[in-house]
Symmetry: C2
Subunit: 210 residues, 2 copies
């Protein structure tokens, strides 16, 4: 299969590709060889027109009357997303949240390997987690280069988030999963996805009031 080109597609469409991929993996586990686009759309919670439009960014898929080949479409999406190989990731900031994420076993099965974690106070950080590779900040740029790391999980305090992200970008990081509740200034070719648990809870708090 020819490697699909990577057109400029909306970020929400990329999120939907992740959902489609999960549905396809479940179908494959259940031994289904093909699926109609209507059924896949329903499983993913989108309209069939949306599904077809999202997949059309990458070429023509499916056979009229037969639907999609579950394995082939899954492999194509994994290839587009770049998750068909183990992706090295570093984590910066081993406070409570950083330590909690290092304890989380869910990244590996999804194709991400945390190759090292960094903290301004490695000795203190080591008391929070059994994770074996906690290094001082001065080693960060070297490890990023040596391990060809392109993604970082950022769990430092708000006050140092921008400074750390500058160092990360300088060292070659181009994707940041940011848990610090602050907007980060980065060059155009760097992508930052923000996750803020407290803000998500606070947002819910608004909607659950009487």
């Amino acid at each position: 299969m020819k490697k699909p080109s990577r057109p400029e597609i909306p970020r929400k469409a990329v999120y939907r590709l992740s959902i489609y991929l999960r549905c396809l993996l479940r179908l494959k586990d259940n031994g289904l060889p093909t699926i109609a686009s209507e059924a896949l759309a329903r499983a993913a919670g989108v309209k069939p027109t949306q599904l077809r439009k999202d997949l059309a960014y990458f070429g023509t898929f499916g056979t009229r009357g037969l639907g999609y080949d579950v394995e082939q479409l899954g492999a194509m999406i994994a290839d587009v997303l770049g998750t068909n190989r183990l992706q090295p990731v570093i984590l910066v900031g081993v406070g409570n949240l950083g330590a909690a994420l290092l304890a989380y076993q869910g990244f590996g099965p999804e194709g991400f390997e945390v190759v090292a974690a960094f903290d301004a106070e490695p000795a203190k950080a080591k008391t929070r987690t059994p994770f074996p590779r906690i290094l001082p900040m001065v080693d960060m740029a070297r490890i990023i280069r040596e391990r060809r790391v392109r993604m970082a999980i950022l769990t430092v305090p708000v006050t140092s988030a921008q400074e750390v992200v500058n160092q990360l970008v300088e060292a070659g990081i181009v994707g940041v999963l940011n848990f610090a509740p602050i907007g980060l200034q980065v060059p155009e070719d760097v992508t930052v996805n923000g996750v803020n648990l407290a803000i998500e809870l606070e947002n819910l708090s608004y909607f659950i009031q009487d």
Copy 2:
């Protein structure tokens, strides 16, 4: 101060209120009594017109030439968000991610108290975390009623997420922070916010490719 009424405002505006509140708390810590709307907008990373529009949902604030009273505006937003009192939360599903979140110390300072955690296999779950209140699923509805819990953090496997959310809604939960990578069907008066770490990473993975 009169309690502001709660008009129907867009969810994104509620997220921005959380950002404004964090900026105001930092200003308060730094001893600033007032702030111009332009400066607050800049700190929050929004346009001044956006800030004024968001606040206008709740009444008239600020004095021409003086700006906003930092403490008063902060108190108003905390009141609107419902985070000016400790909010009881339960966590359901003490697998790796659930255990990691129970270890996270960041909820308390933000106004959320995890009053209990539930798992289908409490004995096994207890090996993953020192959190003291891990209970079997049969106790869930009773605890929700007794502690008047309205919010739940959902960290169960995809395969049981919908069934568990049905039980939660039946027992009185009206806000769910969902970590299971699946869309949940809930009644209209129930709010679900989704967080999916693997999908966020996978999304970054797309954007960091050469």
